[in-house]
Symmetry: none
Subunit: 250 residues, 2 copies
DNA sequence: TCGAATTTGTGCGTATGTATC
DNA sequence: GGATACATACGCACAAATTCG
């Protein structure tokens, strides 16, 4: 590669990117196949592949195995409303996470007991090794994976009660506040710490992306009278969602 | 690849990641070279390369050509407290943006009049082309660039008043709420929309980073009786800061 | 319904350039 | 200069998914 020149895969990616942003390749249309790219640009299979990977990492296109590589439509990112408030009759965790969109949400979850890691222990103000209930959620919106959540609750609080498992029993799916209320624990405030980082491979896989794409991470902790009763990590793809906070100014 | 198994490069990447987060591979130490990875894990050169690429995309390691692949150090990100509240005697915008750290903050700013872009106009509920006062801030903490802010205020509101320029006059540096109060405008709530994206070249230059690394962006709008009176974009490097929201649960 | 062709995704071996030590 | 290691590139093979006759 001569001095000052770009690598071939970046040159090919750049050319295809131009065609996409200029509209010559409209959303939902197919990119030239790997074989066609190879022929059109006079490059090898590897270069064509790397070029497609660059565009996929940028979120511009989407590979469908056996079918082709398709231009994505770049929708305005959805708002996810974050508030401390939850009404009692709101049975799904979705209304809280995702308030201003009236769309069907579904979720899978799996709960397991485990000893608290030092990070989780600090967030819950318990000792490392104390037993906690860990629950993983994958939320989908219109079938699309949207949000990964992992929550931890101290078993010292919920153990041997009807709400020990968040997604079973009479209050299944009603959320932390109501489940804690059933134990006489009044959740009165929540802290959310928002950051962003490149997504881990497993996360971007579950959320339908490629490693390296940015994700927004919320570390949320619910408190009852100053005592943490639940903490969770919420992970959403940064290019598709924004968190919306509405705060009073006193 | 048998069903249910991970691709080889993800397995290798996962193992190396584990060693990094568990501390077996400390920051600034070198990863096994591609050749060593190939030997240790019994995989090909391609797989070893792909595995390294995954970790580089995740920001965990950094490849230095001719030298090796090194573990990055991840400083615990600082908290930036975000609340609607500002006390009247709090003269600096810093207490709001960055409340729980008691460190010296400084800032530069520059204000200019301009016609509102369509995006800004929508946020301020005015017509595109209406004149606004745009002010750019660069905040520093202990001399280090920390945060870029661009704010827009409708001149229909502040024009020909003592608070037209945010950083001049009697209320210089006192923040939107107090300056609006001087006009009899009572700011009562604020909306913040948090997202993340790869940093633009100018941004990462001003904030001291590399292009392409993620930044957290807050679109903030102050409202007085439902009417937007100021909107701003706040940009911070994602790897060094986290936004902290504390909300009541009713 | 079946099968062939296409396409993506993963993986392998090798070669070469170039930066660092 | 030589050795090492990353970065790019080429060509090939095969599995899985999809498409289409």
């Amino acid at each position: 590669m001569p001095f000052g020149e770009q690598p071939a895969y970046l040159r090919v990616a750049g050319d295809l990117r131009q065609k996409i942003v200029d509209g010559f390749l409209a959303p939902h249309t197919r990119l030239p196949s790997q074989a066609r790219i190879r022929a059109e640009y006079g490059v090898s299979d590897t270069v064509a592949l790397e070029a497609r990977k660059v565009l996929m990492a940028e979120g511009l296109v989407e590979g469908r195995s056996g079918s082709g590589t398709y231009v994505r439509e770049r929708a305005e990112p959805r708002r996810i409303a974050r508030t401390g408030y939850r009404s009692a009759d709101d049975r799904t965790p979705f209304r809280q996470e995702q308030a201003d969109e009236r769309v069907k949400g579904t979720w899978d979850s799996r709960s397991e007991q485990e000893p608290a890691s030092s990070a989780v222990a600090e967030r819950l103000a318990i000792d490392p090794g104390d037993r906690v209930m860990r629950t993983r959620y994958l939320y989908r919106i219109e079938g699309e994976p949207m949000m990964l959540t992992t929550s931890w609750e101290p078993l010292a609080l919920t153990g041997r009660t009807p709400v020990m498992l968040p997604e079973e029993g009479p209050l299944a799916g009603s959320g932390v506040v109501d489940r804690m209320a059933a134990l006489g624990v009044v959740v009165d405030n929540v802290q959310e710490e928002v950051g962003a980082r490149p997504g881990l491979a497993e996360e971007t896989l579950a959320l339908g992306g490629v490693p390296g794409r940015a994700v927004v991470v919320v570390s949320r902790t619910f408190f009852a009278s100053g005592r943490p009763v639940e903490t969770a990590d919420v992970v959403v793809p940064a290019d598709r969602y924004r968190l919306s906070y509405h705060l009073p100014v006193r």
